[in-house]
Amino acid sequence: MKSLILQTAARYLLPLLALYSVLLFLQGHHDPGGGFVGGLIAAASLMLCALAYGVPVARDVLPIQPRNLIGIGLLSAAAAGSVGTLQGKPFLTSAWVKLQLPGFGELELGTPLLFDAGVFLAVLGVTVSILMTLAEEEEEE
């Protein structure tokens, strides 16, 4: 299915959706959002691309295999949890570092961010592999 309207709209929507997924992911620590819904939106942007231009194009947009994303996501979540264990505290205890960035101010980074990034990648990987497999079967028929 090729539609000029969809293709033109997708060209503008894709970067917006990708940005929105990152925004949702980052604001998830204090406000509604987080890795799960961010990953879903990112997957939705890729699926929009697949609908408009076909699955092969969407596969090219994603630089790595979706199932590798799942693995990397799971590992970063586990790594985030293990930081607490290595400090002798229970698993998943959060650890924070404060960075002084000249001209920007103070930036606080912690393991919850890494954990959530893992969730983001795992959700993105799972959703994209499921949807692309289904979409490819459709195209083969």
Binding site: L74, T85, T93
Partner: protein
Amino acid sequence: MPLILPILIPFLTAALALLGWRSLRLQRWLGVVGAFALLAAGIGLLISVQNEGIRTAQIGNWPAPYGITLVADHFAALLVLLVGIVGSAIAVYSLADIDEPQQSFAYYPLLHVLLMGVTAAFLAGDIFNLYVWFEVLLIASFVLLALGGERPQIEGAIKYVTLNLISSFLFLTAVGILYGAVGTLNMADVARKLQTLDNPDIVTTLAVMFLVAFGIKAAIFPLYFWLPASYHTPPAAVSAVFAALLTKVGIYSLIRMFTLVFDHAEAPPTFPLILVLAGLTMLTGVLGAIVQDDFRRVLSFNAICGVGYMMLGLGMHTPLALTGSIFYMTHSAVVTAVLFLIAGNAHLVRGTFRLDRLGGLAREAPWLAVAFAIAGLSLAGIPPLSGFVAKLILVRAGLEAGEHLAVAIAIAAGLLTLYSIARVWDAAFWKEPPAHEVPIERIGGEHEPGPLLPREKFLLGAPVATLVVLVVIIGLAAGPIFSLADAAANELMNPAGYIEAVLGGAS
């Protein structure tokens, strides 16, 4: 040793195996190494529980009852160790049993997700967390069950999925009602708050809902139909890990809930009901086993019969009876796994599980016959093997508790088990093989039946031999395992210790 380790090891193994998707060789190595690491963690956990008593970990350092708690008492630690033992045996056996096209469908990642779900369910100290781990292991098991995609497998998988989803639905509903009633889901906190809850109706409702939900998972009478309808369809290694471990999760949850949460003066008298169900489970299980004509269906029904024995100990609810249940769980995990692996071995040689089409295996594979004889006699409860000790404890406990009918059923079921095993022995190992060519029964693999290569012989034989040796050891060196089970039973009979360990002195 951190309490998270038995959960983290299979998690990391699965994640790394996913990254190594392109290399089956890497996945196999990871699968085996991960399983043995889990075994080592299981041993470490049991030793640390022996030394320090009940261990807890508050995930994320959020204190109970607000955070997620992991708890390891003797009961949970022993079961985690069993997961390590069975998981290692299965990981090695799978190298030869699951062929490459099937392995390439993420077999090893899924196996480890399943093992993670099982160990984590044993360690969960929070009911909602327990529910989540049930779902984790179920999702992995759905895929493993259909691995191969043959028609009977899909049929079995549909029954399995449907009934297990009903169970999950009931479980989640009960969790919701429980939260509405007491406002907490931490098991220790629930146990404490239910004692003062002045609403016996809701406690009765909850007890029955949990009994049905876990009863489906544990395959007790009359909710066991999914088990014999599905366990004979997947590859042998998969059916072995399912039969050895998955019903144990259901029984574990029943024992945990009914000794910790629903055991106080105000609670409804559920133990007599459990006792009746246990007797019926033993009888229907063993009666089913003696009429089946498929090797693995006989074993599936025997597994249901075993569930009855484990429930029996909970139903009698004395320290000795619970010791018997826990001992039986140890024995049953090992012996069930090895019997299913032997059936898989027979299938690899002959290409069928049908008893009327097997035969002559005693001459063709004498060591397999020896292994089957030992494991089968142990299942039936012949001294000095592991099953004898387990049943002896239960019978003794039954006589002490004055439950003569239950004892009679247990002994009768034991005799009928012997008969069902003798039938398999006669049909598969003793009688002459059929003269004509038998049709090959495929489970998705491309393996042609026939004599095994030396490499296959080793990979299939080593796990079987190790587990058979364990069966003999559990029987001969019953003392240490009895004292372990006894310690576990005493902790279960005195839930105050568990509550104290989780919540501390805080009120």
